[in-house]
Amino acid sequence: MKKIGVFVCWCGSNIAATVDVKAVVEACKKEPNVVFAEDYQYICSEIGQNKMADAIRDYKLDGVVICSCSPRMHEATFRKTAEKAGLNPYMIEVANIREQCSWIHKDIEEGTEKAIVLARTAIAKVLLNAPLQAGESKVTKRALVIGGGIAGIQSALDIADAGFEVDIVEKKPSIGGKMSQLDKTFPTLDCSACILTPKMVDVSAHEKINIFAYSEVEAVSGFVGNFTAKIRQKARYVDTAKCTGCRACMEKCPSKKSLNEFNAGLDTRPAIYIPFAQAVPNKATIDPNACIKLKTGKCGICSKVCTAGAIDYEQKDQIIEREYGAIVVATGYNIINLDKFNELGYSDCKDVITSLEFERLTNAAGPTKGHLICPSDGREPKKIVFVQCVGSRGLRPCDKQYCSKICCMYTAKHAMLLREKHPETEVYVFYIDVRTPGKNYDEFYRRAVEQYGVHYIKGQVGKVIEKDGHLEVQASDLLADEQLHIDADLVVLAAAIEADDTARKIGTMLTASMDTNDFFTEAHAKLKPVESPTAGIFLSGMCQGPKDIPDTVAQAGAAAVKVIGLLSKDTLKCNACVASPNENMCNGCSLCATVCPYGAITYVDKEFRIPGGVQVRRVSQVNEAICQGCGACTVACMSGAMDLKGFTNKEIMAEVESICK
């Protein structure tokens, strides 16, 4: 007879308040095969774990049921303890009586009754559990970083410094991301380029880092330690090995009308271009949508002026396949499209701009060499209105419900820098709340108000309209309870940020879960903030949620540490709950192999003893290192030969029966 032990956790009062733990213990004692049942305040504590280990040894238990929090919290802890005490870790079952019971039921009678059913169900399962052994798989010691902004750069540098190879895949022609477009950074006001470009240079010089710029990840297969990624390196029509970055082609290119993405579309660039002075790699790229030669076949001026002979109009996209042990997602963010915010006039008035455009207009390397002007007529603005929370913290369909986190601080920065450079300019900031948690952040904001005399007004801007060459801002001052009309020269909108538009595609490719805003979900909001629930996928920067640069860099480093921890292992324990076919029942139909998403199932001819001789039959075989244990094959199998260890048909049936008793 199998001997089962049961532990019921109080979880302090988290469980004990709405579940009568003693009653659960008593009920469990009455279940067949249960030789031991006990309650304890905190089973996950060291004392609790020791109690569990002692019981396993003393009662020679064959299986243990722990009624506690979700198995997603402590199943691993309990399994480790069991293993130390000499019990196979898969002979542990957790009945989730906290998240699924005590926390959602207020009535103690109801809670206790349900807890007993859940405990009974776990007992029914553990009785059928079999000891399992996890296999091992090799780890490819190379990491892939998707996105070459500050998040990707930091993660790549940290991983590479630990001695592992890293590939960065960046969709734009240069790494650097949004940070390369910024002028100054809060709260220190140091110049963004001055702190970023050395890092970009480090990346390009690092012998362990490989940059695939102007490239996109197209497909990813495999699993933790053994991913294979297909990378599409888009044709630049320039041989990067030959291009010296001299920019002679840019001067001579006759097609100069393309919007310059790097300057947020405020000026134009030639069809052949290097996005900015410090670009890495510092190589030219031809925009096929603007290049006259590529569109009409006539022109070819760049190839004539290029002394290096780097121009190659025949270049094709290249597909590169590489193997990786871990993947860091650093896809970053964008600001939302403001077309739906008609009332603020962004689409209609040239002098209504986004903060990112403002950033380019004040940047010495920007389209105006840092002279702030009104884009409509080039005059110097005398009165500037900043509008906060445009599209953030709203409930309309065009709004994001979340706080974009960085706007309060960068607006304070903009306002402060403006007043510093042009003390005669009047600066207004309309806000819902000013949110400045962070080291030296509130001090920074207060400096803007107290030292620089920026007018902060609590209230929302209802409308911005163009009136005889300037903008009329209609707003309410909530504290003074009055309507305001401000004649402004320039209106700057703090547009909400959103996940990059490639994020969803990449999330699907990686089978990494995302929230409804297309931000990647972390494995645990507090305890695993840089891990995706999908093993081997790590999150860096804004792809996980709005973040400023310090937070991004910190998170990027944390993600790198996790990657290093993974890559420093030679082998990984595989999932022990894998599919396993019963060869005697298998008829070799290969239905299981067709539904397997991993290609883990193959067929072999095997000899079987039958009365009076041997028979050769084709039967399925599961590669346990590849199988991820989804169970698709178990249902596809018509003869019922395929089963999933740890979640066998019998075990699940027993659970069903126990619940329906």
Binding site: S70, P71, R72, N96, R98, E99, Q100, C101, W103, I104, H105, K106, E110, G111, E113, K114, V117, L118, T121, G507, T508, T511, S513, M514, D515, T516, T521, P533, T534, C577, V595, P597, Q628, G629, C630, G631, A632, T634, V635, A636, L644, F647, N649, I652, M653, E655, V656, E657, I659, C660, K661
Partner: protein, 146 residues
């Protein structure tokens, strides 16, 4: 018809995939978003692990409603599992319909790990629907009752 419904407490089996919906249920728990205690969850690795036989078994043993929760289409941890599950369930549900089982007794819902509120809302709604429907007698095997 079902006058006795005031005291009728249905038996509900909820199969939840480990990666999204089980996590969504956990989130509903930690956010204290309650739903009726009649719902009992069975954790399966992926929605595609759900053998239609498990649902039939549940009805045979007296379940009044069975719900399958998985990751949103496209988000399955194993890439394609929920597509298989969706097709299998469609087939099973039409068979159950043929047998005269009310189609409200079975349901498939996609609940992500971030959708604790949705999980709770779905369960509240499902229990309300089943309670209104009353007991499932058609498929129950009375011999299984002691």
């Amino acid at each position: 018809m079902q006058v006795e419904n005031k005291t009728f407490k249905p038996t509900i089996v909820a199969f939840c995939c480990n990666w999204c919906s089980y996590a969504g249920a956990d989130l509903a728990g930690s956010a204290r978003l309650s739903y009726p205690a009649e719902v009992k969850i069975i954790r399966i690795p992926c929605s595609c692990r759900l053998n239609p036989m498990f649902i039939l078994k549940a009805f045979q043993r007296g379940a009044d409603g069975v719900i399958l929760c998985g990751c949103h289409p496209g988000d399955c941890h194993y890439t394609t599992g929920n597509y298989y599950a969706r097709r299998r369930m469609t087939t099973l549900f039409s068979m159950l319909n043929y047998l005269g089982i009310e189609k409200e007794r079975t349901r498939v819902e996609w609940v992500s790990a971030a959708e604790g509120a949705k999980f709770s809302a779905v369960m509240n709604d499902f229990v309300a629907t089943i309670t209104a429907l009353g007991e499932n007698k058609k498929l129950e095997d009375l011999r299984c009752k002691k």
